[in-house]
């Protein structure tokens, strides 16, 4: 093997000479253009695509394009958007701070009950968010198990604060980050860590100087996914943090509220969220869309 590229983690770096994954996928696809798609598969595929795409097209068609800018300039929109961006970003930072260590424990350690731990931390993935909100309320609410102690000791009540929004979003979004980073850690060659150890690097030093840089692309992908999920969070937020403009009313909540009394505003807000989502997808394009 003359290509020294085998030394690299393909996730970490892409040598300029190597074909991009996207091109490879295209090549594979074009090589199979001769195959005809059976009607029994083609029809549901078309209908399925319509189910996914038509609503978004409808959103674009019915958007009040003429007074879009005026509506976007309304303070409520800016307020909700700013709150959403801030809370989603904070939730992502919190998720990374706690999630990366969890992912490391899941991927690298040999502690007992690891599979149970993995099941536990990924429950929020499948749990209806509103249930998560209720659960958070029962633990952190003013009469909750931890919340009552917080209130009695510090006179501080979490629910219906911006902090509650961040907690709700973290609860729902962190599993996405954990799963993504654990996958990246498992894919990374652990022998690099052995090499670091023989060069005198202890556990933390190895993690910081070798492991983390090696899985950085995986962490970035996980963070974007986590952020997107936090941005769209609705159920847990409205249950645990309520719906107060300026402090807990994030974009999804604002959309829902606007739909009750001003559908045009709801469309505008939705367009903003759609734009943010598409931007996120573009960010991820290199890593996800081309990896078919």
């Amino acid at each position: 093997m003359t290509d020294p590229g085998f030394l690299e983690d393909p996730e970490a770096t892409a040598a300029p000479t190597r074909p991009r994954p996207g091109r490879r996928t295209l090549a594979r696809r074009s090589a199979r253009t001769g195959t005809r798609i059976p009607l029994a598969l083609l029809l549901p595929a078309i209908i399925g695509t319509a189910i996914l795409v038509l609503p978004l097209v409808g959103l674009l068609i019915r958007a009040p394009w003429s007074d879009l800018l005026v509506r976007l300039a309304e303070p409520e929109v800016g307020q909700a958007l700013r709150l959403s961006l801030i809370t989603a970003s904070m939730a992502t930072v919190v998720s990374m701070f706690f999630g990366i260590p969890i992912a490391w424990v899941l991927a690298r350690s040999n502690i007992r009950g690891r599979s149970i731990l993995r099941a536990l931390v990924t429950v929020p993935l499948v749990l209806p968010p509103v249930v998560g909100g209720v659960a958070l309320f029962l633990v952190l609410g003013r009469r909750g198990i931890i919340g009552s102690w917080l209130y009695e000791t510090f006179g501080f009540s979490l629910p219906f604060t911006t902090a509650a929004v961040v907690i709700a979003e973290t609860f729902v979004a962190m599993p996405f980050l954990i799963i993504s980073v654990e996958g990246a850690l498992r894919a990374a060659d652990a022998r690099f860590e052995d090499a670091a150890a023989t060069l005198g690097a202890g556990g933390w030093s190895t993690f910081r100087r070798v492991t983390l840089p090696l899985v950085a692309p995986g962490i970035a992908a996980g963070a974007v996914l986590c952020w997107a999920r936090a941005l769209g969070e609705f159920g847990a937020t409205i249950t645990f943090a309520g719906n107060f403009p300026g402090s807990t009313q994030t974009m999804p909540l604002a959309v829902y509220l606007a739909l009750q009394n001003d559908p045009q505003a709801a469309i505008v807000l939705s367009l903003v969220l759609l734009a943010v989502s598409l931007a996120t997808l573009t960010l991820l394009r290199e890593r996800w869309l081309t990896r078919a």
Binding site: M1, L7, E8, D9, A12, R191, T198, G200
Partner: protein, 350 residues
Amino acid sequence: MSLSAAIGLQRGSLRLDVELRVEPGQVLVLLGPNGAGKSTVLRVLAGLLPPDTGRVALGHLVLDEPAAGIHVPPYERPIGMVFQEYLLFPHMSTVDNVAFGLRSRRVPKAQAREAARHWLERVGLSTSAKSKPGVLSGGQAQRVALARALIGSPELLLLDEPLAALDARTKLEVRADLRRHLSEYSGPTIVVSHDPIDAMALADEVAVIEHGRVVQSGPPAEVARRPRTDYVARLMGLSLLAGTGEGAQVRLESGVSVSVAEPASGSVYVAIRPEAVAIYPTEPHGSPRNVWPARLASATPHGSAVRCDLTGPVPLTADLTATAFAELGLAPGSEVWATVKAHEVEVYAR
């Protein structure tokens, strides 16, 4: 400081039971088939794998002694290791890869880089200091890995298949280079390899490991000339036969006798080099004392020759020139006669 190691370890189905001693400046090559436990020995010596029993010591420094509860973790051992495929950190420049060991010991960045540049110069790579490992050739990566392992002035140098990742052309050059660097290193060195040519070129001493045990050790020339197991014999291309010495004859277990030049007695091995075997289409009557009927089992190209595996009363391997092979009209299944001169037969005690 010399390395003395006695390692006992059960790992899956592999039972490792190995004793090694390497003096300062000496290069020991661990030679053996895949899965024999060579790399596992290296991982134990590096501290990456604690042994179940035994003792590993560098001079007076005990690195492992499970019975006494001693296990020095890898990052506290005075060792340097070159890994299979080199494992240069892909996200760091070459110079930072080499400086890594010093940075682990809290040497200031500028100073560590300066030392790393010096080492890159020593291995002839000063121009590649800023490149990422991904753009280096296999031979260059190997030299960077060597510099990275040596920069911390280790008391013990471990190399795991340092030449296996190279193509045949670069291998020759890199091997000579590696040999020079190893001769400049003053501590004990252990090289793991499955390639007998690497072993012969690099080793002061060879230890052959099979199934987790050292089956033969000694100077490389000795191991090559007088193999003690079929694996080593095959590796060296020799035919290895076991028998009993009866003066100028060795009686094989199959009952056939082999004439030898020097009288032998007791349990002995007989080793015959493939180029010492001659093949005839009909029974020859000449000077060679050993003449046996044989059947050609298989023939494979081997360098410029054709290596023939012969079955019969004495299983043999013979090297023929391609011309001779063609002129004899040989094909698998051909019945032939094989001859070996008595003085071409190596006899040694079992």
